[in-house]
Amino acid sequence: MTSASVPTQGGPIVRPYGDTTGDGMVQLSFTLPVPHDKRAEGAAVQLAHKMGIDPAMVVHAKAMGPAFTFFVVYGRSNHLVDLSAVEVVERHYPLLSAKEANLAVKKGLRRRLVVVGGCIGTDAHTVGIDAILNIKGFAGEKGLEYYRELRVVNLGAQVSVPDLVARAREERADAVLVSQVVTQRDAHLLNTKEMSAAFREAYPEAERPLLIVGGPRFEEKQTAELGVDRIFSRGTTPAEVASYLVHEVVGNRAHTRSQHER
């Protein structure tokens, strides 16, 4: 989860750090579709200059076949970073321990909170959903299965959207968790939109389960575009997801939900 870092240099303006404060040093690598010769290296320097890197040092250049050259460039970026203008999605809910989360569900919902999860489409990479749901967990934290007051239904890999909707209904899911790792040709975005559209069609808005999607290549700000309630990106831990669920389901939605006693 991102949280605003505290500027340490007396202001919100920072520059990249190589080995001295304010030196602005960056490294980058790229390929140009030109044969490796003097001109190619000059072309690499030109690109670096246009990217705001000056001086730029081509520290490595290597031919890759007859028509391409690979470069590693180090140099000083002349751009400044204004930390006060950085926009991130801040966590708007308190981070709970497993015990606190269980207690909140028990008190606020008076039944177990149901989570249905899986990888949709043809994505067979269950590593993300497993890290969050499996009791084994991730980064030293136990997964949601470990939470006594959460009932977790992990459907695993390659769940079709209709199956996911049907299962969510059958299990009376409070939240649906979808993981998407494969991103070729934006598969993760297309699948997510398909999923959210299907849930919106199948449920009246007030009864719809929370729709949560996660994966390494999502941007947390895309919720509206993708039609989901929350996006979790790289490095999210199970406790963050559990805390969010408790906050949303127990906090905001408990009232509407209690009308459909389950």
């Binding site: 690598s29 790229f30 390929t31 290597k62 890759m64 076949g65 391409f68 690979f70 489409g121 043809t122 067979a124 990479h125 269950t126 590593v127 497993d130 499996n134 084994k136 992990n154 695993g156 890999a157 390659q158 790792v181 494969v182 070729q184 040709r185 598969a187 390494p216 790289r234």
Partner: protein, 524 residues
């Protein structure tokens, strides 16, 4: 390959024998089950061997149209061959394609012939299918000839690289470039979702999703292009595709007809990871392996997948059990040791203490259990985090483990795994990594002998013991392997025998079931 596999782990030969015996016991009922059933794809593969190809204007293959028509009239249980050739002989249709077209518009009715008609139809079907098997045989001889002319890669491991653009005409130059950069084997990743199509698309395709459709024409185009490059390089570059999913028997057949060299072909992958019906998979598996055996194709099994969903230390023995089962099923279907590209992977969490020693133990166990199989060594994916620098180091250790344990087929790891589809520079850097390690340590296997009774030898023995335990657990189920698959013994996935995709395409063979392809392929 000769002096390579000297036993180093001191594995107990009795334990090794016991593991194989248990795998056989677990596998035998499955083979029996497979031989009692047929599937739509086995029957369509038979029609393909007999020369039926192409598709109707909507893109539905004629083998599907014809099979569906036959099935509508007489069901699947008698097999497609006798009704089809009976219709061919008793109508005015000059060939199979015409029979398919007439059947598709309802002009033909099918019956299961009896008596002399049956003899006549069966004999004609055998002749037609035998011609197809002969084409597969001649493609195999052609491969042998070309390998003799252009040569094998100079050493081991063979370098395996993937292309996956979705467009066969983009794949071709990429594959040729990869071969020039040093790839010995090119794998064309299939379009996402093809495994769940119950037909094989036709023609050259340019619209795959994260991969390129496996079609006969795509196979032909890529093989021809790699033949050109092989000639240029003076080294036979092998081509790999995927005989998996609902159409694996047909894809195996097309691979045999178009001289593909390796095929991904795992006995349980479709069940566990694609939720394809277990019986459908085992029946299709057996047929496709028989075709691969005949075609001289090396199969690649998918044990790496177990480790992408389970912990690579805790689940190490599931890899070994799967390898043993794959070996049993492969040999039963006629494949020889040199055709068994059994898979395994470098997927242990690098944060685990002694992770590299554990990797060496697991890799060496596979090496010693299957001394004559061309093992396929798969790179880390699970613990590739996006930190490309760390990933490059991890790939270096993966390459080193491969070199130290004499792996045969090395799938080149990309530092940008989990970030992007490999860039030109990623592939170049990855190949530099492999070359450095193979150059520096390629023959380290000669010197590397783990201490007797040390960490590596003990760990290998432990994994073997756990494998035996798991096989025993499988055999304790009423219905053995089928029940074990149903209750989630393999990983977390529960796959009951009456669930999954493709079950409607399975039938129990009738008493008068006839299939010339299985007859010819089984007689060896």
């Amino acid at each position: 390959m000769t002096a390579r596999v000297q036993p180093k782990l001191g594995l107990d030969p009795a334990a090794v024998r016991e593991a194989r015996r248990l795998a056989k016991r677990a596998g035998q009922p499955i083979v029996q089950l497979a031989s009692q059933h047929t599937t739509v794809s086995v029957e369509r593969a038979t029609l393909r061997l007999a020369g039926l190809s192409g598709a109707d204007p909507d893109g539905t293959p004629w083998v599907n149209r014809l099979l569906d028509a036959v099935r509508g009239d007489v069901g699947l249980a008698p097999g497609v061959a006798a009704p089809v050739w009976d219709a061919l002989l008793s109508s005015d249709a000059p060939d199979l394609a015409t029979v398919a077209q007439q059947a598709a518009v309802g002009q033909l009715r099918f019956r299961v012939p009896t008596g002399r008609d049956a003899t006549r139809a069966r004999s004609a079907a055998r002749t037609a299918v035998r011609a197809g098997v002969r084409r597969v045989d001649s493609r195999r001889r052609e491969r042998d000839r070309l390998i003799k002319r252009w040569g094998n890669p100079p050493g081991k491991p063979w370098i395996y690289l993937i292309v996956a653009t979705g467009d066969i005409y983009e794949d071709i130059p990429q594959a040729q470039a990869a071969a020039r950069e040093g790839a010995d084997i090119i794998a064309v990743i299939r379009s996402t979702g093809q495994s769940l199509l119950d037909f094989v698309p036709e023609g050259a395709t340019r619209d795959g999703f994260a991969g390129t459709y496996a079609t006969q024409e795509n196979f032909r185009l890529m093989r021809a292009a790699l033949d050109d490059t092989s000639r240029e390089l003076g080294r036979y570059v092998r081509l790999t595709n995927y005989a998996s999913g609902l159409c694996m028997p047909e894809i195996a057949t097309l691979a045999g007809l178009e001289r593909l060299d390796m095929m991904l072909n795992d006995s349980m992958y479709g069940i566990l990871f694609r939720d394809i019906n277990p019986i459908r998979t085992f029946v299709d598996q057996r047929f496709s392996r028989q075709v691969h055996a005949r075609a001289g194709i090396i199969i690649n099994t998918g044990e790496d997948n177990y480790l992408t969903t389970s912990d690579a230390v805790d689940a190490a023995h599931t890899v070994t059990v799967s390898q043993l089962l794959n070996e049993y099923f492969a040999k039963e279907a006629g494949l020889e040791d040199w055709q068994l590209g059994l898979g395994h992977a470098f997927e242990i969490d690098p944060a685990v203490p002694d992770s590299f020693r554990l990797e060496l133990a697991h890799a060496l166990l596979a090496r010693e259990l299957f001394p004559n199989a061309p093992l396929k060594w798969m790179p880390p994916t699970r613990h590739m985090t996006g930190d490309v620098f760390r990933g490059y180091l991890l790939d270096g250790f993966f390459n080193l483990a491969g070199a130290m344990t004499g792996q045969d087929i090395l799938l080149v790891g990309m530092m940008t795994e989990a970030v992007v589809t490999p860039w030109l520079s990623d592939r170049d850097l990855a190949l530099q990594n492999v070359r450095y390690v193979v150059n520096a340590a390629g023959r380290l296997a000669e010197d590397f002998v783990p201490a007797p009774g040390g960490f590596i030898a003990t760990r290998a023995a432990q994994v073997l013991a756990e494998s035996i335990g798991l096989l025993q657990l499988i055999l304790e189920h009423d219905n053995g392997l089928l029940d074990a698959i149903a209750d989630g013994t393999f990983g977390l996935m529960k796959r009951p025998a009456d669930g999954g995709k493709g079950l409607e395409g399975v039938a129990r063979k009738a008493d008068d079931y006839f299939n010339p392809a299985t007859e010819i392929l089984a007689a060896r």
